[in-house]
């Protein structure tokens, strides 16, 4: 059976939330697409909020001998032209993580992944991307997901 990528599961889980989509639309990805040459018609206009989910170091790997699930640490970064735009998406992600219980996540290919835990691992950090003139808010999360599809 194919092994599922916990990063893909957590991104699909975020994409499935209607409130978050209302804030960032389809702009949830591993890398942002701000500042592309054809930005005006491109997918990530600088005037709109976007969210990236990037793997980062810091999660202790699970030591189960059969590796039935994977634990990773991801950095969720919310972008916006000003702090007022960048803040609501990361707030929504933190709200989703509050009281999170085991959830099934339907992936793009129809397989169903199982997300065990999404837990904030630090307080939000504000930053600014000078070249793109974008404000950022970043929060790392510990994510654990089943390695095999459950359906």
């Amino acid at each position: 059976m194919a092994t599922l990528d916990p990063l893909e599961i957590v991104i699909q889980w975020l994409r499935s939330d209607a409130d978050l989509r209302g804030l960032v639309g389809d702009r949830i990805a591993v890398r942002h697409k701000y500042g592309m040459p054809d930005e005006a018609s491109g997918p990530w206009p600088r005037s709109l909020a976007g969210l990236t989910v990037t793997p980062t170091a810091g999660a202790t790997p699970l030591r189960d001998n059969c590796r039935p699930s994977r634990r990773i640490r991801v950095e969720v970064v919310s972008y916006g032209p000003d702090p007022e735009t960048a803040e609501p998406p990361i707030r929504r992600v933190l709200a989703l993580a509050d009281g999170f219980t085991r959830s099934e996540v339907v992936l793009a290919d129809g397989a169903v992944g199982l997300l065990y835990a999404v837990d904030p691992d630090d307080s939000p950090a504000a930053d600014r991307e000078p070249d793109l003139a974008l404000d950022m808010l970043r929060v790392p999360f510990i994510v654990q997901a089943a390695a095999a599809a459950v359906a």
Partner: protein, 188 residues
């Protein structure tokens, strides 16, 4: 992967309810009845600790034990409550909320717990707490006491919390074998 089923990994905290000792548990998957009171938000780990060391019997004919017995067993539930309301404190001491005296705008709770602790039933419910699928489950203890050995610490930048320990007592009105409570989970 075949030696492990994804749902069998139980991860995540559960919701804890208290009620008068002997209160029946809800049907699995249904909300507890009004008799059950939500015992506030917990912090950190929630543990069910079962103890009862075996006693082994040996004879002169061999090296290894020939018989093992368990003369007694104990079940403890431990968790930490975040909200230091007098109601939460009263339960954690196995007093009752009836011990709180309300007068005008003040509430008063005595520290003395008394010789005989009040008995409670305890319920730990999880929406996704079944090892057999995305289904609910619970652990139920029909009768027990809160031990009430509490240390509350005030400090400049840390929260005072109530570390609760609940010690199960047999409820002999339950079916044989179920006197200490049971776990129930939905399977499909």
């Amino acid at each position: 992967m075949a030696d492990s089923a994804p749902y069998a990994e139980l991860i995540g905290a559960v919701t804890i309810y208290v009620a008068v000792a002997g209160t029946a548990p809800p049907t699995v998957g249904q909300a507890p009845s009004a008799s059950w009171v939500l015992y506030g938000c917990t912090t950190g780990d929630q543990t069910i600790e079962e103890t009862g060391p075996l006693i082994y019997h040996y004879d002169n004919c061999g090296q290894a034990p020939t018989k093992a017995v368990r003369p007694q067993e104990d079940t403890m539930v431990k968790f930490t409550i975040k909200d230091s309301t007098l109601e939460n404190l009263a339960r954690a001491r196995s007093q009752t909320v009836g011990d709180i005296v309300t007068s005008g705008t003040t509430k008063t709770l005595p520290i003395t717990k008394g010789f005989v602790p009040t008995e409670y039933a305890l319920l730990m419910v999880g929406d996704a707490d079944s090892p057999y699928g995305a289904f609910p489950g619970y652990n139920y203890f029909p009768r027990g006491v809160f031990e009430g050995e509490i240390t509350q610490t005030r400090s400049k930048a840390a929260r005072s919390e109530i570390a609760v320990s609940y010690h199960v007592i047999e409820d002999r009105t339950q079916a044989a074998g179920f006197e200490q409570g049971w776990a129930a989970v939905q399977t499909s």
